[in-house]
Symmetry: C2
């Protein structure tokens, strides 16, 4: 096990009916900006429920935060918040809305161009406090301090983290996920799955608890993911998925172990250039990545084959191949294609993807920092 520091002060309010508890979590007399995406929370009634719970506060709204939230959109919210002297933000939505709200929280008091927070890793001295009401289990943003923001004008999709950017609270009501479209449910399962593999499918490092926790989360996704599509209003299924997605990326299973994240870095460029959903890019890249990195990941791939897929027969190569194939089949069964061709993208797209990786400095990726552009090229080719 590696040395680590673990800190996560986000308060989780989990369960049905918890929106009524919102007012207690926000400082009295706060000027609150509710941030959200499209109309789904309006249609589902969640926005009205949130506003009713905040009856005693001065409330503003900012709508229109898109999937893969953009700097361009978020800066409009920053201007509104500065103008209206907002002192608390409340994100209502999925990971994109929460990620975007983290950027808004950091950008409001920032002096200079807030894009520098991402592009130049500029220091953040303060941030506006914020909470979230999660409606889409997927990214884990509701219980971590990271975010990914896209600059539309330059096709940059960059990540940042800061200790000031943990949500003060996140409210997770599984019933608010009943009305999600199947594509978003499936994407959420894939996203959480790959968050786990990025922290688990590396090399054995004597971290037995982290391994067992990661395996417990993967098994839960495999058991519950398909059920969420079949019986959308099964509370237990939705509750298990929601808590799993949060725990998949709240720092716990990644503490003290090697981390990979190469699949995410390659995936980000697929979204930036071709507009794929984030989870779709992960479903494409992961199986190919595991094949290309099978030697580096051998020990963990065999453990994954055994403990997740129950593969104990045959030689090592067979078990590894089968484990990767079962992973692919799991994604495909959720209706998430796992090949570039499934999204109409040909091999001719690969040079531009590699150029993007190079431009973003993504030339030594993975848990050994040894996945070069040549390695990434092989991953994209195998994913074709």
């Amino acid at each position: 096990m590696q040395n680590f520091t673990f800190y996560n002060p986000t308060r989780i309010l989990f369960g049905s009916g918890r929106i009524a508890d919102l007012a207690r979590e926000i400082p009295a007399n706060a000027r609150v900006l509710i941030t959200y995406g499209g109309g789904s929370i309006v249609k589902a009634g969640t926005l009205a429920e949130v506003k009713a719970a905040l009856a005693g506060f001065t409330v503003f709204e900012f709508a229109g935060i898109e999937p893969n939230p953009t700097y361009e959109t978020l800066m409009q919210a920053v201007e509104l918040a500065r103008r209206e002297r907002i002192d608390f933000l409340l994100a209502v939505g999925g990971g994109s809305v929460i990620d975007g709200t983290k950027f808004i929280a950091a950008a409001i008091p920032f002096v200079g161009d807030p894009w520098d927070i991402l592009a130049k890793r500029a220091k953040i001295g303060s941030a506006i406090p914020f909470g979230s009401v999660l409606t889409l289990p997927a990214t884990g943003s509701e219980m971590n301090n990271g975010a990914v923001i896209t600059k539309r004008i330059s096709n940059d999709k960059l990540a940042f983290m800061n200790r000031l950017l943990f949500p003060r609270f996140s409210l997770l009501d599984p019933t608010k996920t009943y009305t999600l479209p199947p594509r978003q449910v499936a994407n959420g399962v894939v996203d959480a799955f790959v968050h786990i593999t990025e922290q688990y499918l590396t090399y054995p490092d004597d971290a037995k608890v982290q391994d067992r926790f990661a395996e417990g989360l993967l098994l839960t996704l495999i058991e519950e993911g398909p059920k969420a599509l079949q019986t959308p209003e099964d509370y237990a299924v939705r509750a298990n998925l929601m808590w799993t997605a949060t725990l998949a990326l709240n720092g716990l299973i990644g503490a003290g172990v090697p981390n990979d994240w190469a699949t995410h870095m390659l995936g980000h460029e697929l979204t930036a250039l071709h507009g794929l959903d984030h989870a779709q890019t992960l479903a494409v890249v992961l199986p190919a990545m595991l094949q290309v990195r099978r030697e580096e990941k051998r020990g963990k791939l065999l453990q994954y084959a055994d403990r997740i897929w129950g593969l104990r027969e045959g030689d090592e190569e067979t078990r590894i191949d089968q484990a990767i194939e079962r992973t692919r089949q799991f994604f495909e069964a959720l209706q998430v294609p796992t090949r570039l061709s499934g999204y109409g993208i040909g091999k001719d797209a690969i040079p531009a993807l590699l150029a993007q990786l190079e431009r973003h400095g993504m030339v030594a990726l993975g848990e050994h920092s040894d996945l070069t552009l040549e390695g990434s090229r092989r991953v994209f080719e195998l994913a074709a």
Copy 2:
């Protein structure tokens, strides 16, 4: 899954050599009171290392916090802290020292008799901030807000919790556990094991992640516990045990699921009247408790038999009996006796134990609040 609120702001600094990082975690100019137990941290050099790391602070010491820390001893520390205007406490030791320090932290600013915090559940308005350097993995006190304190004069052993009593940080260096006596290592494994079963061996409640996490912790204890006794200086083993014991009682696996804690309540009276180590009382009570409660716990006992002990053959009764027997054997193999007779306590002691339970209001225990004094009597008799 039940509704829950999860909040745990304790910062964990985990790994070898982390004591050097202590100074960064304590407010500048703090007047620090180091609290500890007997001479083991002096002999092992840990106290000197901690004091060297705190070279820039005004430091006081309070030694002599005993196992099952007493109100009588702790009040001496409270007087010292008030006199010297202490504004930060640093517990160096195991769960007893940390529990005791939580009481000291709450008692310093308390108006009136601080025993009321336990006996009358008196409200705490503030507490002195504190951190810990853990030297004995067992109780989980390093990452929760609860404590158990004993009043010697009246044989009362009572628990309390408060949101103000999370350690600001806890420093977990596995190498500091190398010199622990085998009895304390074994006790720590049993203590963590029973913390988990109190939150896991109840009834099925569709909480798949909590179950998988609890099972992962139990499996790690079963794999690593005996190794810690055989090869005391194996870093990976000690690291796994230390992180497991912390996660066994930091609120995570108990969130959203039924909790039992009857074994602890019966065990507390055994310590209060007969002076057994806390873990010894749990090793005695748990196997008997599981037998007495086998109908109420049937579903979870079968899951435990399957996933923890690999028992999949035979009828349900056989599998449950075997799972309980394997639990008993695990404790015995760690040299922790699992019968009252193993500690020289006869059946004649039972009426006084029941009288204690009654005096403390422990007459409706367990996840269904239906373990009466008659049920507790059967548990003690079966444990004889």
